[in-house]
């Protein structure tokens, strides 16, 4: 196998855009017959325009926590939590299985469009949901150990804790790694397959845990 240059970065240390990839293992390794079908890849691993939205959301979170008013906290917790839950369920049970059945070029096309958005959306909605939720729980008294709903709240801590460990330890690193692999001049299909599989399984686990979150949160909201 020919060595791949590690300096596939531009002068700013950014991965180069516009690299090409042979979509099948045979063409990547030069073992296939016929000319390789190359798909130009031009995408940002972290979409910079999206960072503006992230900054706005975080400023809103800081203001809501500092003001400590019920509606802004409720809005951010419910909106962030709903987005987190829906994304996890959708990725785990809809997109994940579809991703596994797509052809390599289609999978790469979907991954390069979907995953950069997930790199910024998921950590943002998770942070907003957790920080606003903590503040809301304190304001409403659910955090206090004497509250009748305290047991449900502790159950939600445990579920969120398991999801956080899976998401932070497996899902997010796989998400970043697959995008960086795809940026290389000679990405390896077996690496991409392995990372996408890890991403899909992790998303499935967090999706299943989100069902528990739905049960707990609706129980808490019902009093």
């Amino acid at each position: 196998m020919p060595p791949t240059r590690s300096d596939d970065l531009d002068a700013d240390g950014e991965p180069m855009s516009g690299v090409t990839i042979a979509p099948t293992q045979a063409t990547v390794h030069g073992e296939g017959a016929g000319p390789p079908a190359r798909v130009p890849l031009d995408f940002e691993i972290v979409p910079r325009k999206g960072l503006i939205g992230v900054a706005v959301a975080f400023v809103a979170l800081i203001v809501a926590i500092a003001a400590n008013k019920l509606w802004p906290l409720m809005f951010l917790h419910v909106a962030g939590g709903a987005a987190w839950t829906v994304l996890d369920l959708f990725l785990g049970f809809v997109i994940g299985p579809i991703l596994g059945r797509l052809s390599s070029p289609a999978r790469i096309e979907l991954v390069t469009r979907l995953m950069p958005k997930m790199v910024i959306i998921l950590p943002t909605v998770v942070t907003i949901s957790l920080a606003a939720g903590w503040q809301l729980g304190t304001k409403l008294g659910y955090v206090l150990s004497g509250s009748p709903s305290h047991g449900w709240l502790v159950a939600s801590f445990i579920v969120v804790g398991v999801m956080a460990v899976v998401a932070l330890g497996l899902l997010e690193p796989a998400n970043i790694a697959v995008l960086i692999e795809l940026k290389k001049p000679q990405p390896r299909p077996e690496v991409i397959e392995s990372l996408i599989k890890r991403f899909s399984y992790s998303a499935g686990i967090t999706g299943a845990m989100q069902i528990a979150t739905l049960v707990i949160m609706t129980r808490l909201a019902s009093g």
């Binding site: 196998m1 060595p3 791949t4 240059r5 590690s6 300096d7 970065l9 240390g13 972290v46 975080f58 979170l61 800081i62 926590i65 500092a66 400590n68 950590p123 942070t127 957790l130 920080a131 903590w134 503040q135 304190t138 955090v143 206090l144 150990s145 305290h150 502790v154 801590f157 445990i158 804790g161 956080a164 460990v165 899976v166 932070l168 330890g169 497996l170 997010e172 690193p173 796989a174 970043i176 790694a177 960086i180 692999e181 390896r188 077996e190 690496v191 392995s194 990372l195």
Partner: protein, 144 residues
């Protein structure tokens, strides 16, 4: 421009320590400590269990860094390139969570334990991301 070339590491590199598994165990320990403290608020919380969990988590982080530093030919350039940026992002999210703790007038031992837990979170998660990216490249000296 780098003076090294990169040879691809095999998918299941036998020489690599179990960084991801140890990292997840470390994160699980600080999450458990955080849940323990949060579950007892606002009563007086015996800090010993949380401190033990935090210390074990910190030990796993130190062990993970030590084990990784002994890997020959690891793609440190790629590792630091990714981990540095991830650390900036995770430091921001840790800061926001810390802000929520401070706004709730959390203080004393529980605040110290939770703050140190956030520090471990903000170091270990970027390390896991950097490792996952860099493990598929092994830097070797360029042939002369």
């Amino acid at each position: 421009m780098s003076a090294t070339t990169t040879v691809h590491a095999p998918l299941d590199e036998p020489g690599l320590p179990p960084v991801t598994q140890i990292g997840m165990a470390s994160l699980a320990l600080i999450v458990a400590g955080g849940i323990y403290l949060s579950a007892h608020l606002p009563e007086h919380v015996p800090l010993t269990p949380a401190v033990i969990l935090l210390a074990l988590s910190a030990l796993l982080l130190a062990g993970n860094l030590a084990a990784l530093s002994r890997v020959h030919g690891f793609a440190w350039g790629r590792f630091f390139q990714v981990a540095r940026r991830a650390m900036l992002a995770y430091a921001i999210t840790a800061g926001l969570i810390e802000f929520a703790f401070l706004e709730d007038h959390l203080s004393g031992g529980p605040l110290v334990v939770l703050t140190l837990s956030l520090v471990i979170y903000a170091v270990h998660v970027p390390m896991l991301i950097g490792f996952t990216v860099a493990r598929y490249e092994l830097s070797a000296p360029a042939p002369s």
